[in-house]
């Protein structure tokens, strides 16, 4: 009975309603785990981790030269989402992506939302993610954010919030696919008994999304994945996605602009490239248009892109939507573009550039989380309740010096999921990142990546800050009696192996 002593405590627990009372959709799993000894569980955990390490599902940690690859710690106890709840999330995410896409198309086009003063112009123009060279761009079908990985959290009450939109190059989807593959061998019986939504079609959907962008008029368009190279922290994922889609994985040095088209260098000469799934940040993609010191990009790409002779996913300039100050205006965007109320709430956000909000932030630094508007990955933030007085004073100074750069949010008591440790199971805080593809229609991979803070009591789930991951199961609640697998009738159909006489 592994869960005998497990106590969800004063948190929203994803698998338990209360001590000893699993949520209905988790009952089968809990029963199965209770039937295993701690030893058996540990063995399965090790086998799962080994399987991931062996195929090299690794990420690199910046500034860590010795043995740069690690696997993202993986926990075999999954997070379970009932289907009805997932459907609500799905609706909310679709609405949000639609609105954000219209926003991008607008601010790099007519800028109606600025002219109507729904969002202050200076906020958009001062955002580091706002790229002037992108003004006037017309990406195919008016789609800017083809691939999004929205970060969701839920608080003590179980209510969902959107934490970040991640419209540039969200990573992590390879873990979703690999974690699932490993989980099927870890709990085959449970998979058999429950109806868990499959995630495997992601690569096909991604390829469809990318092909949807190809400039018209060329038969058999060439799609590539563009990576900064093997030292990038997400290199495994770049390579994995290229492999799963059956397309080339290229680096900047493989590409060149010839005759006004983007071309790749092959053993048989140059070959035209039509669609680039780029995993390089905007700033680095073209040293002529953006950062001249970038060695990763392709000089002159912007011009070809502007001429519509190559498509990029995501479009350039989407980083503006990741600015945490702009994030605060998403509810207004939804209202403005769609005429709807938002279905998925934002985390309440204080904008330090507004005087009264700033003084509230400064007075409550010990209760709030302060974030830099243009940083991500757990960098450049202050978790007030866990910070020292000196750290808080440091941030107060920074906020006063550059109020546009900072926002603050209440510290959320993130929901928890039981997680396996050496001798026991403890609750750990999690978030959820579903992956959304915007092609002919909007597709959301069921579930997403559950990131878990493995340091006791920690609220930071980023892989660069000691986080791990879990498989996420979207489960239909009522499980009908499972029909038997059909088995092959051996005596009739199977021919005998020939043997040596």
């Amino acid at each position: 009975m592994q869960f005998q002593h497990y106590d969800p405590g004063d948190f929203y627990d994803e698998l338990f309603v209360a001590k000893g009372e699993p949520r209905p959709e988790a009952a089968v799993l809990i029963e199965r785990i209770n039937g295993l000894t701690m030893n058996e569980l540990q063995q399965r955990q090790n086998a799962a981790q080994n399987a991931l390490f062996k195929v090299g599902v690794t990420f690199n940690v910046y500034s860590d030269n010795e043995g740069t690859e690690r696997i993202l710690p993986f926990d075999i106890i999954p997070r379970i989402l009932p289907l009805r709840e997932w459907e609500i999330l799905e609706k909310g995410l679709k609405q949000r992506i639609q609105a954000l896409n219209l926003f991008l198309d607008d601010i790099y086009g007519e800028q109606k939302i600025l002219k109507d003063k729904v969002i202050p112009r200076e906020l958009v123009e001062s955002a580091t993610g706002f790229l002037k060279p992108c003004i006037g761009l017309k990406p195919p079908q008016g789609i800017w954010c083809h691939i999004t990985g929205t970060d969701l959290v839920r608080d003590r009450s179980g209510a969902w919030y959107v934490l970040e939109d991640n419209m540039r190059c969200p990573s992590g989807v390879s873990y979703v696919l690999e974690n699932r593959r490993v989980m099927k061998t870890t709990f085959p019986l449970v998979f058999n008994k429950m109806s868990i939504r499959a995630v495997d079609d992601y690569a096909s959907k991604l390829l469809e999304t990318l092909l949807n962008l190809a400039p018209t008029g060329f038969p058999d368009p060439t799609v590539v994945v563009l990576t900064p190279g093997i030292y990038n922290s997400a290199y495994f994922e770049h390579s994995f996605l290229a492999q799963q889609m059956g397309v080339e994985l290229v680096e900047g040095r493989d590409l060149t602009i010839v005759d006004g088209y983007l071309q790749m260098r092959t053993t048989k000469g140059l070959k035209r490239v039509d669609v680039v799934y780029r995993r390089i940040d905007d700033d680095f993609i073209d040293p002529v248009a953006f950062r001249p010191d970038s060695l990763l990009g392709i000089p002159g790409l912007m011009e070809v892109y502007r001429a519509g002779r190559v498509a990029l996913a995501n479009a350039l300039g989407t980083g503006i939507a990741d600015d945490k100050v702009i994030y605060a205006y998403v509810p207004q965007m939804i209202k403005y573009y769609l005429g709807e109320d938002q279905l998925l709430a934002n985390v309440p956000t204080y904008l330090c550039w507004e005087a009264d909000q700033q003084s509230h932030v400064l007075a409550n630094l010990d209760k709030l989380v302060v974030k830099s508007a243009d940083e991500s990955g757990g960098y450049g933030m202050l978790v007030g309740p866990h910070a020292t007085q000196a750290e808080r004073e440091d941030f107060a100074g920074r906020i006063r010096a550059n109020p546009r750069k900072y926002i603050a949010q209440p510290t959320l008591n993130l929901s928890r999921v039981p997680t396996l440790f050496e001798n026991q199971i403890d609750g750990c805080h999690v978030d959820l990142r579903p992956y959304i593809l915007y092609g002919k229609e909007i597709y959301i991979n069921p579930g997403g990546l559950t990131r878990v803070a493995l340091k006791k009591g920690s609220l930071v789930v980023n892989s660069s800050q000691g986080g791990g991951s879990k498989d996420t199961w979207v489960v239909a609640e009522s499980v009908p009696g499972q029909s038997q697998n059909q088995s092959q009738n051996q005596s009739q159909n199977q021919s005998q192996n020939q043997s040596q006489s």
């Binding site: 090299g56 093997i230 390579s239 010839v258 092959t266 053993t267 140059l270």
Partner: protein
Amino acid sequence: MLSRVAHSIYWLNRYVERAENIARFIDVNLNLLLDSPTVMTQQWEPIVSTTGDRPLFKSRYGDATADNVIQFLTFDQAYPNSILSCLTAARENARSVREVISSEMWEQVNLFYLMVKEASQQRHLTLTQLPSFFAEVKTASHLFAGVMDATMSHNEGWHFGRVGRLLERADKTARILDVKYFILLPSPSDVGTALDELQWIALLKSASGYEMYRKRQRLISPDGIANFLILDREFPRSIAYCLLQAERSMHEISSTTLGSWNNSAERSLGKVRSELDFITIEEIIQQGLHEFLDHIQTQLNCVGASIFETFFALEPVG
């Protein structure tokens, strides 16, 4: 296929093959030492000489003691041709083309690397551990080649890999054979004695050629062994065999008919291959075995350079 990708598959295979052959070098010497009369001083210098990196070794280690040479060739991370360095490089290359090669190939390279890395962290391998370590290196390399043959489509990338492996093997067989040139017998009159023969047998064994040689020639003779390792058309580690197969793969890549050429890579490889087709062992011995092997190594370096220019260093026009 992307030039960079072809380049990486080619070097992935060269490095794995190189690691295997370094293991063979050391193994031949360990074998020799065990058979040598006790009075004979240990000869580790010849191994260093055949690698072509003697000056580098001298400047960093000084004396060619067993420990120094084994450390240098096996685990020295600063020496780019040590077994550990080869595996590190092989793995980096594999990592950069993971989506092109089969996952089984990647797993095998990764395991191979981890095995060598782990061995390098045990501070000192004893004389009893060493032979089994080098045997493991050889097996791991064979496994890699087998896995590649059995799991990767025999497409352009596969042929590039094969060209890399075979050129590397040809070069290293030449060097293994050259070890005997550098090994000194206690006195010149020992040529042709039991000790001399033992050394030749050890050399054959390190090229995994002893049994196959026996089936072919029966009697152990220097000329016979040189003939076998250079000119045999069936033994998979002989220089002639390697070049013959490498040429086939190269012509598969470019679709040029065998016997003609369209680029410098095909021409230089065809040239050295055809030289081996028609030369006899007597002619080789006449011009000096060591000189001939040196000449072949230079030619192989030219082939490598022209492969690079033809397929990998493609510059954009204009």
